[in-house]
Protein backbone atom coordinates (compact mmCIF):
# COMPACT_ATOMS: atom_id res chain seq x y z
CA UNK A 1 0.00 0.00 0.00
CA UNK A 2 1.14 3.52 -0.86
CA UNK A 3 0.02 6.18 1.62
CA UNK A 4 -0.23 9.91 0.95
CA UNK A 5 0.15 11.92 4.13
CA UNK A 6 -2.94 14.05 4.69
CA UNK A 7 -2.05 17.04 6.86
CA UNK A 8 -4.16 19.78 5.31
CA UNK A 9 -1.58 21.06 2.81
CA UNK A 10 -0.49 19.86 -0.57
CA UNK A 11 -2.57 18.57 -3.40
CA UNK A 12 -3.18 15.05 -2.11
CA UNK A 13 -5.65 14.33 -4.91
CA UNK A 14 -3.05 15.12 -7.60
CA UNK A 15 -0.63 12.74 -5.94
CA UNK A 16 -3.34 10.10 -5.70
CA UNK A 17 -4.21 10.48 -9.39
CA UNK A 18 -0.54 10.13 -10.33
CA UNK A 19 -0.45 6.73 -8.62
CA UNK A 20 -3.79 5.69 -10.12
CA UNK A 21 -2.06 6.12 -13.49
CA UNK A 22 0.10 3.15 -12.49
CA UNK A 23 -2.85 1.11 -11.27
CA UNK A 24 -2.14 1.90 -7.62
CA UNK A 25 -4.92 2.95 -5.28
CA UNK A 26 -2.92 5.21 -2.95
CA UNK A 27 -4.55 5.94 0.39
CA UNK A 28 -4.87 9.54 1.60
CA UNK A 29 -4.42 9.25 5.34
CA UNK A 30 -3.03 10.80 8.50
CA UNK A 31 -3.46 7.59 10.49
CA UNK A 32 -0.17 6.99 12.24
CA UNK A 33 -0.14 3.19 11.90
CA UNK A 34 -1.13 3.30 8.22
CA UNK A 35 1.52 5.91 7.50
CA UNK A 36 4.23 3.93 9.29
CA UNK A 37 3.28 0.52 7.88
CA UNK A 38 2.67 1.57 4.26
CA UNK A 39 5.06 0.26 1.59
CA UNK A 40 5.68 3.86 0.56
CA UNK A 41 4.73 7.22 2.08
CA UNK A 42 4.35 10.39 0.04
CA UNK A 43 4.60 13.80 1.73
CA UNK A 44 3.08 16.38 -0.63
CA UNK A 45 3.20 20.10 0.12
CA UNK A 46 2.40 23.49 -1.36
CA UNK A 47 2.30 26.99 0.04
CA UNK A 48 4.25 28.27 2.99
CA UNK A 49 6.92 26.26 4.80
CA UNK A 50 5.72 27.37 8.24
CA UNK A 51 2.07 26.55 7.54
CA UNK A 52 3.05 23.12 6.21
CA UNK A 53 5.17 22.46 9.31
CA UNK A 54 2.25 23.42 11.56
CA UNK A 55 0.12 20.85 9.72
CA UNK A 56 2.86 18.22 9.87
CA UNK A 57 3.31 18.78 13.60
CA UNK A 58 -0.42 18.22 14.16
CA UNK A 59 -0.20 14.74 12.61
CA UNK A 60 3.17 14.09 14.32
CA UNK A 61 4.88 13.62 11.00
CA UNK A 62 8.38 13.74 12.50
CA UNK A 63 7.75 10.53 14.45
CA UNK A 64 6.14 8.87 11.43
CA UNK A 65 9.11 9.67 9.20
CA UNK A 66 11.62 8.58 11.86
CA UNK A 67 9.83 5.25 12.34
CA UNK A 68 9.73 4.60 8.61
CA UNK A 69 13.38 5.41 8.04
CA UNK A 70 14.46 3.20 10.96
CA UNK A 71 12.60 0.37 9.26
CA UNK A 72 14.13 1.30 5.90
CA UNK A 73 10.72 2.09 4.37
CA UNK A 74 10.60 4.56 1.46
CA UNK A 75 9.41 8.15 1.94
CA UNK A 76 9.01 10.63 -0.93
CA UNK A 77 8.70 14.36 -0.25
CA UNK A 78 7.34 16.56 -3.05
CA UNK A 79 7.89 20.35 -3.35
CA UNK A 80 7.37 21.85 0.13
CA UNK A 81 7.20 18.18 1.21
CA UNK A 82 10.88 18.09 0.25
CA UNK A 83 11.75 21.45 1.80
CA UNK A 84 10.46 20.44 5.25
CA UNK A 85 12.97 17.58 5.34
CA UNK A 86 15.76 20.12 5.91
CA UNK A 87 16.73 21.69 9.25
CA UNK A 88 14.86 24.93 8.70
CA UNK A 89 13.01 27.15 6.27
CA UNK A 90 13.23 30.92 6.18
CA UNK A 91 10.32 32.84 4.65
CA UNK A 92 10.00 36.61 5.00
CA UNK A 93 13.07 36.55 7.31
CA UNK A 94 11.26 34.31 9.79
CA UNK A 95 12.93 30.93 10.38
CA UNK A 96 10.84 27.83 11.08
CA UNK A 97 12.29 24.51 12.22
CA UNK A 98 11.74 21.67 9.74
CA UNK A 99 11.71 17.90 10.16
CA UNK A 100 15.50 18.02 10.16
CA UNK A 101 16.30 14.82 8.30
CA UNK A 102 18.95 16.71 6.35
CA UNK A 103 21.12 19.60 7.56
CA UNK A 104 20.53 22.81 5.67
CA UNK A 105 18.32 25.78 5.18
CA UNK A 106 15.55 26.44 2.67
CA UNK A 107 15.59 30.07 1.53
CA UNK A 108 14.30 32.26 -1.27
CA UNK A 109 15.89 31.77 -4.68
CA UNK A 110 18.15 34.67 -5.76
CA UNK A 111 16.06 35.63 -8.80
CA UNK A 112 14.28 38.83 -9.80
CA UNK A 113 11.23 37.02 -11.11
CA UNK A 114 9.58 34.57 -8.74
CA UNK A 115 8.19 31.98 -8.47
CA UNK A 116 10.38 29.73 -10.58
CA UNK A 117 7.52 28.39 -12.63
CA UNK A 118 7.89 25.99 -15.51
CA UNK A 119 9.78 23.09 -17.02
CA UNK A 120 13.48 23.07 -16.16
CA UNK A 121 16.34 20.73 -16.86
CA UNK A 122 18.06 18.82 -14.10
CA UNK A 123 21.60 17.57 -13.65
CA UNK A 124 20.56 14.19 -12.35
CA UNK A 125 23.01 12.52 -9.99
CA UNK A 126 25.06 9.72 -11.57
CA UNK A 127 23.52 6.43 -10.49
CA UNK A 128 20.15 8.01 -9.72
CA UNK A 129 17.34 5.47 -9.56
CA UNK A 130 14.52 8.04 -9.68
CA UNK A 131 15.75 9.56 -12.93
CA UNK A 132 16.44 6.25 -14.67
CA UNK A 133 15.23 6.61 -18.25
CA UNK A 134 14.37 10.31 -17.85
CA UNK A 135 17.82 11.77 -17.16
CA UNK A 136 17.55 14.33 -19.96
CA UNK A 137 13.90 15.34 -19.45
CA UNK A 138 12.51 18.60 -18.12
CA UNK A 139 10.31 18.56 -15.01
CA UNK A 140 7.68 21.02 -13.79
CA UNK A 141 8.68 23.35 -10.97
CA UNK A 142 6.68 25.96 -9.13
CA UNK A 143 8.42 27.39 -6.07
CA UNK A 144 10.17 30.50 -4.75
CA UNK A 145 12.23 28.77 -2.06
CA UNK A 146 14.73 25.93 -2.20
CA UNK A 147 17.70 24.32 -0.50
CA UNK A 148 20.73 25.77 -2.24
CA UNK A 149 23.53 23.87 -0.51
CA UNK A 150 23.95 20.19 0.30
CA UNK A 151 25.49 19.95 3.75
CA UNK A 152 25.17 16.28 4.65
CA UNK A 153 28.73 15.06 4.47
CA UNK A 154 29.31 11.45 3.55
CA UNK A 155 30.24 9.18 6.43
CA UNK A 156 32.19 5.95 6.25
CA UNK A 157 29.23 3.81 7.26
CA UNK A 158 26.53 5.25 5.01
CA UNK A 159 26.26 5.40 1.26
CA UNK A 160 26.47 9.05 0.10
CA UNK A 161 23.20 10.70 -0.88
CA UNK A 162 22.50 11.20 -4.58
CA UNK A 163 21.83 14.90 -5.08
CA UNK A 164 20.41 16.24 -8.36
CA UNK A 165 20.62 19.95 -9.13
CA UNK A 166 18.81 22.54 -11.18
CA UNK A 167 19.19 26.29 -11.52
CA UNK A 168 17.07 29.42 -11.24
CA UNK A 169 18.91 32.58 -10.29
CA UNK A 170 21.44 30.18 -8.79
CA UNK A 171 21.92 26.47 -8.25
CA UNK A 172 19.41 24.66 -6.06
CA UNK A 173 18.68 21.07 -5.09
CA UNK A 174 16.11 19.53 -7.43
CA UNK A 175 16.03 16.05 -5.92
CA UNK A 176 17.67 13.93 -3.24
CA UNK A 177 17.92 10.15 -2.93
CA UNK A 178 19.27 9.22 0.47
CA UNK A 179 18.60 5.57 1.29
CA UNK A 180 14.84 5.20 1.86
CA UNK A 181 14.35 8.99 1.97
CA UNK A 182 13.80 10.63 -1.42
CA UNK A 183 12.45 14.01 -2.40
CA UNK A 184 11.83 16.21 -5.42
CA UNK A 185 11.54 20.00 -5.49
CA UNK A 186 9.59 19.68 -8.75
CA UNK A 187 6.16 18.12 -9.18
CA UNK A 188 6.48 14.66 -10.77
CA UNK A 189 2.69 14.35 -10.61
CA UNK A 190 2.45 17.36 -12.98
CA UNK A 191 5.46 16.54 -15.14
CA UNK A 192 3.69 14.54 -17.83
CA UNK A 193 5.23 11.27 -19.00
CA UNK A 194 8.66 12.08 -17.51
CA UNK A 195 7.02 12.52 -14.12
CA UNK A 196 5.12 9.26 -14.54
CA UNK A 197 8.38 7.41 -15.18
CA UNK A 198 9.97 8.95 -12.10
CA UNK A 199 7.00 7.92 -9.96
CA UNK A 200 7.17 4.43 -11.40
CA UNK A 201 10.87 4.29 -10.51
CA UNK A 202 9.97 5.23 -6.93
CA UNK A 203 7.10 2.72 -6.77
CA UNK A 204 9.55 0.01 -7.78
CA UNK A 205 11.61 0.81 -4.69
CA UNK A 206 8.51 0.44 -2.50
CA UNK A 207 6.84 -2.70 -3.80
Amino acid sequence: MIAILDYGFGNVRSAQRAFARHGIDAQITSNREECIEADGLVIPGVGAFAACMDGLDRVEAAAIVDARLLANRPVLGICVGMQVLFTEGVEHDIPRIGLGQWPGRVAQLPAGILPHMGWSEIDSAPGSVLFQGVEAERFYFVHSYAAQKWELHPSESLAPALVSWSEYGGAFIAAVENGPLSATQFHPEKSGDAGATLIENWINQCL
Binding site: N11, R13, S14, R17, A18, A20, R21, V46, G47, A48, G112, I113, L114, P115, H116, M117, G118, W119, S120, E121, I122, D123, R138, Y140, F141, V142, H143, S144, S166, E167, Y168, H187, E189, K190, S191, G192, D193, G195, A196
Partner: protein, 254 residues
Protein backbone atom coordinates in the same frame (compact mmCIF):
# COMPACT_ATOMS: atom_id res chain seq x y z
CA UNK B 1 23.00 22.98 -20.54
CA UNK B 2 20.97 26.05 -19.75
CA UNK B 3 18.63 25.42 -16.90
CA UNK B 4 16.29 28.32 -17.50
CA UNK B 5 12.72 27.08 -17.64
CA UNK B 6 11.44 26.38 -21.14
CA UNK B 7 9.04 28.86 -22.74
CA UNK B 8 5.61 27.46 -21.99
CA UNK B 9 3.03 27.04 -24.73
CA UNK B 10 -0.46 27.06 -23.24
CA UNK B 11 -3.63 26.33 -25.19
CA UNK B 12 -6.64 28.06 -23.67
CA UNK B 13 -9.96 26.31 -23.79
CA UNK B 14 -12.91 28.66 -23.39
CA UNK B 15 -15.57 26.48 -21.85
CA UNK B 16 -19.29 26.94 -21.48
CA UNK B 17 -21.63 24.21 -20.26
CA UNK B 18 -18.97 21.59 -20.65
CA UNK B 19 -18.00 22.46 -24.22
CA UNK B 20 -15.08 24.37 -25.72
CA UNK B 21 -15.81 27.55 -27.60
CA UNK B 22 -13.76 30.44 -28.93
CA UNK B 23 -15.06 33.53 -30.56
CA UNK B 24 -13.50 36.44 -32.35
CA UNK B 25 -13.29 39.22 -29.76
CA UNK B 26 -15.50 37.07 -27.50
CA UNK B 27 -18.58 37.18 -29.73
CA UNK B 28 -19.82 34.76 -32.41
CA UNK B 29 -19.00 31.69 -30.37
CA UNK B 30 -18.12 28.59 -32.37
CA UNK B 31 -18.21 25.12 -30.80
CA UNK B 32 -14.84 23.40 -30.99
CA UNK B 33 -15.24 20.27 -28.91
CA UNK B 34 -15.08 18.42 -25.65
CA UNK B 35 -12.61 20.07 -23.26
CA UNK B 36 -11.14 16.87 -21.82
CA UNK B 37 -10.73 15.32 -25.26
CA UNK B 38 -8.98 18.47 -26.45
CA UNK B 39 -6.84 18.57 -23.32
CA UNK B 40 -5.68 15.04 -24.05
CA UNK B 41 -4.82 15.93 -27.65
CA UNK B 42 -2.95 19.09 -26.63
CA UNK B 43 -1.04 17.18 -23.96
CA UNK B 44 0.02 14.62 -26.57
CA UNK B 45 1.13 17.46 -28.87
CA UNK B 46 3.38 18.90 -26.20
CA UNK B 47 1.31 21.57 -24.44
CA UNK B 48 3.22 22.69 -21.35
CA UNK B 49 0.10 23.66 -19.40
CA UNK B 50 -3.61 23.94 -20.01
CA UNK B 51 -6.00 26.76 -19.23
CA UNK B 52 -9.76 26.43 -18.95
CA UNK B 53 -11.69 29.67 -18.97
CA UNK B 54 -15.29 29.33 -17.79
CA UNK B 55 -16.83 32.03 -19.93
CA UNK B 56 -20.35 31.65 -18.61
CA UNK B 57 -19.26 31.43 -14.99
CA UNK B 58 -21.05 34.61 -14.03
CA UNK B 59 -24.38 33.18 -15.09
CA UNK B 60 -24.09 29.89 -13.26
CA UNK B 61 -23.30 26.35 -14.44
CA UNK B 62 -20.35 26.03 -12.04
CA UNK B 63 -21.00 22.38 -11.24
CA UNK B 64 -20.38 21.41 -14.87
CA UNK B 65 -17.00 23.12 -14.70
CA UNK B 66 -15.94 21.30 -11.54
CA UNK B 67 -16.82 18.05 -13.26
CA UNK B 68 -14.80 18.95 -16.38
CA UNK B 69 -11.81 19.93 -14.21
CA UNK B 70 -12.06 16.69 -12.27
CA UNK B 71 -12.16 14.56 -15.42
CA UNK B 72 -9.27 16.47 -16.97
CA UNK B 73 -7.05 16.15 -13.88
CA UNK B 74 -7.62 12.39 -13.84
CA UNK B 75 -6.36 12.02 -17.41
CA UNK B 76 -3.90 14.79 -18.15
CA UNK B 77 -0.81 15.17 -15.97
CA UNK B 78 0.35 18.69 -16.73
CA UNK B 79 -0.57 21.88 -14.83
CA UNK B 80 -4.14 23.06 -15.25
CA UNK B 81 -5.25 26.65 -14.66
CA UNK B 82 -8.96 27.44 -14.36
CA UNK B 83 -10.47 30.90 -14.50
CA UNK B 84 -13.73 32.66 -15.08
CA UNK B 85 -16.10 33.83 -12.37
CA UNK B 86 -13.73 33.15 -9.48
CA UNK B 87 -15.04 35.46 -6.75
CA UNK B 88 -13.99 34.10 -3.38
CA UNK B 89 -11.52 32.00 -1.43
CA UNK B 90 -14.19 29.28 -1.39
CA UNK B 91 -14.38 29.27 -5.21
CA UNK B 92 -10.61 28.78 -5.31
CA UNK B 93 -10.81 26.00 -2.75
CA UNK B 94 -13.44 24.14 -4.79
CA UNK B 95 -11.47 24.44 -8.03
CA UNK B 96 -8.25 23.25 -6.39
CA UNK B 97 -10.09 20.34 -4.85
CA UNK B 98 -11.60 19.48 -8.23
CA UNK B 99 -8.07 19.20 -9.63
CA UNK B 100 -6.98 22.66 -10.78
CA UNK B 101 -3.37 23.57 -10.00
CA UNK B 102 -3.86 27.29 -10.42
CA UNK B 103 -6.83 29.64 -10.65
CA UNK B 104 -7.03 32.95 -12.43
CA UNK B 105 -8.90 35.93 -11.05
CA UNK B 106 -10.00 38.97 -12.99
CA UNK B 107 -13.18 40.98 -12.34
CA UNK B 108 -13.62 40.02 -8.70
CA UNK B 109 -10.07 41.17 -7.88
CA UNK B 110 -10.68 44.49 -9.62
CA UNK B 111 -13.81 44.97 -7.53
CA UNK B 112 -12.04 43.97 -4.32
CA UNK B 113 -8.23 43.76 -4.57
CA UNK B 114 -7.98 42.26 -1.05
CA UNK B 115 -9.20 39.01 -2.64
CA UNK B 116 -5.66 38.58 -3.99
CA UNK B 117 -4.17 38.74 -0.50
CA UNK B 118 -6.79 36.37 0.88
CA UNK B 119 -6.20 33.70 -1.79
CA UNK B 120 -2.43 34.04 -1.62
CA UNK B 121 -2.33 33.82 2.17
CA UNK B 122 -4.54 30.74 2.20
CA UNK B 123 -3.11 28.71 -0.68
CA UNK B 124 0.19 30.38 -1.57
CA UNK B 125 0.87 32.82 -4.40
CA UNK B 126 1.79 29.97 -6.75
CA UNK B 127 -1.89 29.08 -7.24
CA UNK B 128 -2.91 32.57 -8.28
CA UNK B 129 -2.84 33.97 -11.80
CA UNK B 130 -3.95 37.58 -12.26
CA UNK B 131 -5.79 37.76 -15.57
CA UNK B 132 -5.58 41.27 -17.02
CA UNK B 133 -7.71 42.14 -20.07
CA UNK B 134 -5.96 45.30 -21.21
CA UNK B 135 -6.25 47.70 -24.11
CA UNK B 136 -4.68 50.93 -25.24
CA UNK B 137 -6.32 53.93 -23.61
CA UNK B 138 -5.70 57.32 -22.11
CA UNK B 139 -4.33 56.21 -18.73
CA UNK B 140 -0.88 57.00 -17.22
CA UNK B 141 0.81 54.01 -18.89
CA UNK B 142 -1.30 54.15 -22.04
CA UNK B 143 -2.97 50.82 -21.19
CA UNK B 144 -6.12 50.28 -19.17
CA UNK B 145 -7.88 47.28 -17.69
CA UNK B 146 -11.21 46.34 -19.24
CA UNK B 147 -13.99 44.15 -17.89
CA UNK B 148 -16.76 42.05 -19.43
CA UNK B 149 -14.53 40.63 -22.13
CA UNK B 150 -13.26 44.03 -23.20
CA UNK B 151 -16.64 45.69 -23.51
CA UNK B 152 -16.32 47.93 -20.44
CA UNK B 153 -13.61 50.29 -19.30
CA UNK B 154 -12.54 49.99 -15.67
CA UNK B 155 -10.55 53.22 -15.72
CA UNK B 156 -7.74 51.36 -13.93
CA UNK B 157 -4.22 51.63 -15.33
CA UNK B 158 -3.09 48.19 -16.52
CA UNK B 159 0.56 48.44 -15.51
CA UNK B 160 -0.33 49.92 -12.13
CA UNK B 161 -2.75 47.04 -11.62
CA UNK B 162 -0.07 44.48 -12.44
CA UNK B 163 2.31 46.12 -9.95
CA UNK B 164 -0.39 46.11 -7.31
CA UNK B 165 -1.17 42.46 -8.00
CA UNK B 166 2.50 41.51 -7.59
CA UNK B 167 2.74 43.30 -4.26
CA UNK B 168 -0.51 41.70 -3.05
CA UNK B 169 0.75 38.21 -3.78
CA UNK B 170 -0.06 36.89 -7.24
CA UNK B 171 2.12 34.14 -8.70
CA UNK B 172 1.76 34.99 -12.37
CA UNK B 173 0.19 37.49 -14.80
CA UNK B 174 -1.92 36.51 -17.77
CA UNK B 175 -1.88 39.59 -19.99
CA UNK B 176 -4.57 39.52 -22.64
CA UNK B 177 -4.59 42.26 -25.26
CA UNK B 178 -8.22 43.09 -25.95
CA UNK B 179 -7.18 45.10 -29.00
CA UNK B 180 -5.45 42.08 -30.50
CA UNK B 181 -7.66 39.27 -29.16
CA UNK B 182 -9.17 37.24 -31.95
CA UNK B 183 -7.60 39.36 -34.71
CA UNK B 184 -4.66 37.01 -35.38
CA UNK B 185 -2.64 40.11 -36.21
CA UNK B 186 0.05 39.42 -33.60
CA UNK B 187 0.56 39.90 -29.87
CA UNK B 188 0.68 43.49 -28.58
CA UNK B 189 4.47 43.58 -28.32
CA UNK B 190 4.68 47.01 -26.72
CA UNK B 191 2.22 45.98 -24.02
CA UNK B 192 4.23 42.82 -23.27
CA UNK B 193 7.47 44.79 -23.06
CA UNK B 194 5.96 47.35 -20.70
CA UNK B 195 4.30 44.68 -18.53
CA UNK B 196 7.56 42.71 -18.32
CA UNK B 197 9.17 45.86 -17.01
CA UNK B 198 6.87 46.07 -13.99
CA UNK B 199 5.94 42.45 -13.25
CA UNK B 200 8.04 40.59 -10.66
CA UNK B 201 6.28 37.30 -11.49
CA UNK B 202 6.20 35.21 -14.69
CA UNK B 203 4.24 36.74 -17.57
CA UNK B 204 1.91 34.88 -19.92
CA UNK B 205 1.09 36.76 -23.12
CA UNK B 206 -2.26 36.25 -24.78
CA UNK B 207 -4.31 37.67 -27.60
CA UNK B 208 -3.55 38.05 -31.27
CA UNK B 209 -1.36 35.09 -32.21
CA UNK B 210 -1.84 34.43 -35.91
CA UNK B 211 1.57 33.59 -37.34
CA UNK B 212 4.58 31.65 -36.07
CA UNK B 213 6.67 34.83 -35.94
CA UNK B 214 4.20 36.28 -33.44
CA UNK B 215 5.30 33.76 -30.79
CA UNK B 216 8.97 34.54 -31.41
CA UNK B 217 8.38 38.29 -31.06
CA UNK B 218 6.38 37.89 -27.83
CA UNK B 219 9.19 35.85 -26.26
CA UNK B 220 11.75 38.45 -27.31
CA UNK B 221 9.52 41.10 -25.68
CA UNK B 222 9.77 39.18 -22.40
CA UNK B 223 6.89 36.71 -22.25
CA UNK B 224 7.65 33.60 -20.19
CA UNK B 225 4.69 31.74 -21.59
CA UNK B 226 2.38 32.12 -24.56
CA UNK B 227 -1.28 31.41 -24.52
CA UNK B 228 -3.46 30.97 -27.58
CA UNK B 229 -6.82 29.48 -28.37
CA UNK B 230 -8.34 29.64 -31.82
CA UNK B 231 -5.19 29.01 -33.84
CA UNK B 232 -4.78 25.74 -31.96
CA UNK B 233 -8.45 24.77 -31.88
CA UNK B 234 -8.94 25.25 -35.58
CA UNK B 235 -5.65 23.65 -36.50
CA UNK B 236 -4.00 26.74 -38.02
CA UNK B 237 -0.88 25.60 -36.18
CA UNK B 238 -0.21 22.46 -34.22
CA UNK B 239 1.42 23.02 -30.84
CA UNK B 240 4.22 20.71 -31.94
CA UNK B 241 4.84 22.89 -35.01
CA UNK B 242 4.97 26.08 -32.91
CA UNK B 243 7.47 24.46 -30.56
CA UNK B 244 9.58 23.16 -33.43
CA UNK B 245 9.64 26.64 -34.96
CA UNK B 246 10.60 28.29 -31.66
CA UNK B 247 13.34 25.71 -31.06
CA UNK B 248 14.69 26.63 -34.48
CA UNK B 249 14.71 30.28 -33.42
CA UNK B 250 16.96 29.37 -30.49
CA UNK B 251 14.40 29.45 -27.68
CA UNK B 252 14.39 26.91 -24.88
CA UNK B 253 11.51 24.54 -25.54
CA UNK B 254 10.48 21.35 -23.78
Amino acid sequence: MSKKPAIRIIPCLDVTEGRVVKGVNFTNLVDAGDPVEMARVYNAEGADELTFLDITASSGARETMYEVVNRCAAEVFIPLTVGGGVRSVDDVDRLLRAGADKVSVNTAALARPELINEISERFGSQVLVLSVDARRANTPSGFEVTTHGGRHSSGIDALGWIEQGCSRGIGEVLLNSMDADGTRSGYDIEMITRARGVATVPLIASGGAGALEDFDLAIKAGADALLAASIFHFGTFRISAVKEYLRGRGHLIR
